[in-house]
Structure formats: C-alpha cells, structure tokens
Amino acid sequence: MKYEYSVKVDDLRTHFKVHRPHLFAEQPTVYAVDGVSFEIEPGKTFGLVGESGCGKSTTALSVLRLVEPTSGSVELNGVDICQLSENDLRNYRRHMQIIFQDPYSSMNPRTTAGEIIRTPLRILKIGTPKEQHERVEELLGLVGLRPEQKNLYPHQFSGGQRQRICVARALAPNPDFIVCDEPVSALDVAIQSQILNLLARLQQEFGLTYLFISHDMAVVQHICDEIAVMYLGRIVEKADRRSLFLDVQHPYTKALLAAVPTTDNNSKLSFVSLKGDVPSPMDPPSGCHFHTRCPMAETRCSKEIPKLRQVLPNHWVACHLV
C-alpha cells in the first residue's frame, strides 16, 4: 500500500522540565519543540534549518521518540509511533534510522566497524549471523569502504570514513526513513561534499525518505526538496526549495539568508543585520518569538502568535506582516 506521505508530523511538542535553581523556585520548562507540523513525501528530503537552540535537533530526536514528545503525533507509513508500546516501538525501529553529527562520538569505540554496522541487524534479529556478515560487507561496499576494513576500530578511520560507517549502519535494516541530524557539520569541506553525494546517491537507489537537519543554508538548499525554517521551537516558514529562496517571505529567513557568506557575488541578498542574540527557549518572547529581533515588528507581533498559513503554492509562512 502506498501512502501519500511517508512521514506526517502533527503539532509535535517536546517540553523539558529542568532542574530548579533552589528549593522554592518554580520548576523551569524549556519549550524545545513547540507545535511543529510537517509532512514528507516518500523518497523526498525534508530540511529543517535554524540556528543553535531553535529545537531542530530535539525535533529530530522526538520524531524517532528518542526523546519522548510531550504531545502530538508522528506517523510513519500510517503508523503513529507515539502510540506504540515500548516493545512495538523497538520492533518498528527497523523502518526508521538516524545519522548523527559527530562522527567521533557516534560509534562505540570498543567495537569494530563490522560489528557497528551489524548491531541493528543483531538487535532487530534480522537474518542469520552468516547473512548478517554478508550484509555488512555489502553495506561497506555501498558506502565506499573496502570489506577488509570491517575489522578496524573507529579510531583507525578518518572523520569522513566514520560518517560512511554511520551511514552504512543506518542503512543496515533497510529502513524507509532516515533522520540525518547535521550529518556533515563536523566534517571538513572537502569531505562534506563526499558525504552529501553519497546520501543523494543512496536516496535514489533505495527510495529513502530523509529528514535533514542542518544549520547550513547552502547545504540544505543543495540537498532538500522541501525546507522548513525553525526559530525557538516553531516553524516560521516552510516551502519547496525553489519557492523558499526565490520568494523568501519571513523576515527571519531573509536575515538568515543574508547572513550566509558566499563566493558568488551576484546571489547576495541585501544585508539585514539582526540585532542581539537568540532569546532563551526557557523564557521565549510572547507572541511571535522573533519580534524582539525583527526589524519590522509591530505591537501586534508581541501579542498574537502568528499561524503558519499558505501564501503561495507550496509556501507557508508564520508572520503577521506577510
């Protein structure tokens, strides 16, 4: 059966209670993800982009229930994984995998590359040990490593090679959906392109659906079919990749795009410098979270929360002034 959407996230919220500073203090809450909704079509890449602390990584973890969401639903191929029992969720994990940012901490340093790639097969009990080992060699080839490298330990690989192993591990159980949480941010520029091309190639070959998290506008533009910009736990703008850059609407997205340095002089947007820092997600501004830094904010912005609404075909924006 084919679904219209591979992944459908509806009004996802993840709030954390943090340690109270003293006995009589109110327990502070971090609104890391505060009502995020999006859909991803099968075989497409959906990008979440934003600055640090905007909640994009928490969204990634919540979508896989690696962090327990406070409310909302996440449907993968029509199954709401937020409703699954612990046991069912464990079994269902074969359909969804994740690739992390830091290639140095995302692998158990005491296991060999081969064992690392085999782990999901072992845990999910896919195939006999012999089949598993064959699959490991096949996967190593797929990500551009040599089969004999399976006996090496993570510290014997370079950053780019480690990331390839992580990709192989994520591919091992034949998932439909892979969350890529800043997969190239920690890599050297020359290696970044290798991994991005690898991810693109694998997507074509296996029809994978990606949720791609990044802070790098250029990378997101390059690899994603649809992109959402996050600010303090909410999506402020969402569009397909052409529309987002050609008809950028939200003042935050504009500022973000203008801030990106580029070697291409012609594509530079006029510079709108944002004042100040991102406010704390523990105590976000009222109304539109962005109004404290927005160059065009009005009184209304500090009172009403703007809804995400469609302004162009395939283009949604959450701003009162658009």
Partner: protein, 291 residues
C-alpha cells in the same frame, strides 16, 4: 593543538586491549607494583608451606631483636614476627579483596542506576550516597562493631558500607557522561533494551576509570582493616598485620621491629596496588596516549 588525531590518524596498533598492555608494561613503576603484588600473593598462597608455623605460638624469648635465629625478631610474647607477617598476608588479601568486591557491587549498582535513569532515581540514590559520605567511616564502623559481635564478615561488610560511595559517584559520573554520547542514542535508535545498553554498551566504556578506582579501593580496604585491627577492633582470631602493630605498640621503645616490619608489609602491599592503579590510569588515559 586542539585536534591531535589529525597529525597521526593511521599508524596505531590494532586492538585497544593489546595497546593497553603495551602501555602498562612500558611503565616501570607499574611493573614494580605488579611484582610487589605477585610477591604478596605468592607469600599468601605458598608462604606458610615453605616457612611453617603458627603465628600465635610463642617460639622464642620475648623481644628477641632481628637476627639469625628469628629473621625479623620476636614480639613481647616471643611470637615470631616473620611467621606473623607471612600469615597476615593471606588475611590481608582476603579482607582486601572481599571488601573490594562488596564495595564494587554496591557502588556500581547504585552508580549505574543513578547515572542511567537520572531524575528522581538519581536524586534519591545520590541523597543516600551523600548521607553515607558525611558519616566519618572509622567512627561509624566502631559503632557497628561495638553494637554487633566483631567477626571477619562484619568487618568486610563494614568496610564496604563506608567505602562504596566513591565508587557509586564515579560510576554515576561516567554513566552520565557516556549516556549523552551519540553512540548510546544510536543504540536506542536501533531498538536496544535498557539493560543491554547499560551492560553491553555503557559499562565497558566506563570501565577504564572504574578499574583504576577498584585498584585503589583494594589499597584503602587493606588500610582500613589494618587501622581497625590496630585499634583492637578486628576479628580477634585473625592474626593480621594491623593486629601485630596494635598489640605491640606499648613496647614501641623496646622492640621497634615488631612495629616497623608489619607496617612495612602493609606499606609495600598498598604501594604495589597503588602503582598498578597509577600504571593503569596512565595506560587508560587517552590524553597521555597521544604522544
């Protein structure tokens, strides 16, 4: 330089364990410690079959100085000091090891639970740990021994009760640190169970500092038992090194050897285990491994 791996990413020996042993044996002090320990273990196991005798038996004139007849002299009752030291080795080792095993079990279990589950579990267990930390160990054990009949089991248990806190804190700290690493999240993303993550993923990676702590713990357990026996609070039937010193301390001005030699035996034993711990620490410390 912030990223030393870059300098030298490829040339390394294969298995981490092999590398560890190479590092350990390159450390002269650590090898010395190992030799000291082998000596103590040998004495404890074979000592009395080679140099026979009952330590409580009075074999010579009281307070004979060290010499040809009694290598290390006799004490105020005419008991041979050397026999005592050989005999004490097995008692010391037995207590040192069993107390350490109890300490490690209590400490690791509490540390693992607190570190892995966090939140209220952590809060509760850490409060308990802090409570045991403010009790002065020697006084607390004195109360225990005074209320209950002293025996070797009570002493082992008492040592464990006052020394598990450090182990628990260390285990917890390591678990808290490793739990946040992405490979643990990756393991969860692949559907691994909590028990398997704790035992098979986090614990092996938390081991290096724990192993060092265990080595040091053997040392402190031995010292603690010695102090108890010195104060006359040990098992009265166990002829331990601490007991030898404690029973002879009134004669300190007349027979220095009855105090010096058993004390030296304790010192060397603990030194040995400290050196081993130190060597392991250096070998396991990734910062020192780079250059």
């Amino acid at each position: 330089m912030n990223n030393r791996q870059e300098l030298n990413p490829m040339v390394r020996p294969d298995r981490p364990v092999v590398e560890l042993w190479l590092m350990f044996f390159a450390n002269k002090a650590a090898v010395l410690g190992l030799v000291l320990w082998l000596l103590v273990v040998f004495t404890a196991v074979f000592g009395l079959t080679i140099y026979t005798g009952d330590p409580f038996e009075m074999v010579g004139a009281p307070m004979t100085p060290p010499g040809a007849e009694f290598l290390l002299g006799t004490d105020y009752l005419g008991r041979d000091v050397l026999t005592g030291i050989i005999h004490g080795a097995s008692i010391t080792l037995a207590i040192g090891f069993s107390a350490t095993i109890c300490t490690v079990i209590i400490g690791v279990v509490i540390g693992v639970l607190a570190g892995y589950y966090g939140r209220w579990v952590d809060n509760l267990l850490m409060r308990v740990t802090e409570f045991f930390q403010v009790l002065p160990p020697m006084l607390f054990v004195m109360v225990l021994i005074s209320l209950f009949t002293p025996s070797i089991y009570l002493i082992v248990l008492a040592i464990a009760v006052v020394s598990w806190t450090g182990m628990a804190r260390l285990t917890r700290a390591e678990f808290l640190k490793i739990k946040e690493l992405e490979y643990v999240t990756a393991e969860r993303a692949m559907g691994a169970r909590n028990a398997s993550i704790m035992a098979k993923v986090i614990l092996p990676n938390a081991l290096p500092p724990l192993i060092v702590a265990v080595a040091l713990n053997v040392g402190t357990a031995i010292l603690f038992e010695a102090a108890l026996s010195f104060l006359g609070l040990g098992d009265p039937n166990a002829y331990s090194w601490g007991y030898m010193i404690g029973s002879s301390r009134e004669y300190i001005w007349d027979s220095w050897w009855t105090i010096t030699f058993p004390g030296f035996a304790i010192f060397l034993t603990v030194l040995g285990v400290s050196l081993i711990g130190d060597g392991l620490n250096d070998a396991l410390n990734p910062k020192l491994r780079e250059l």
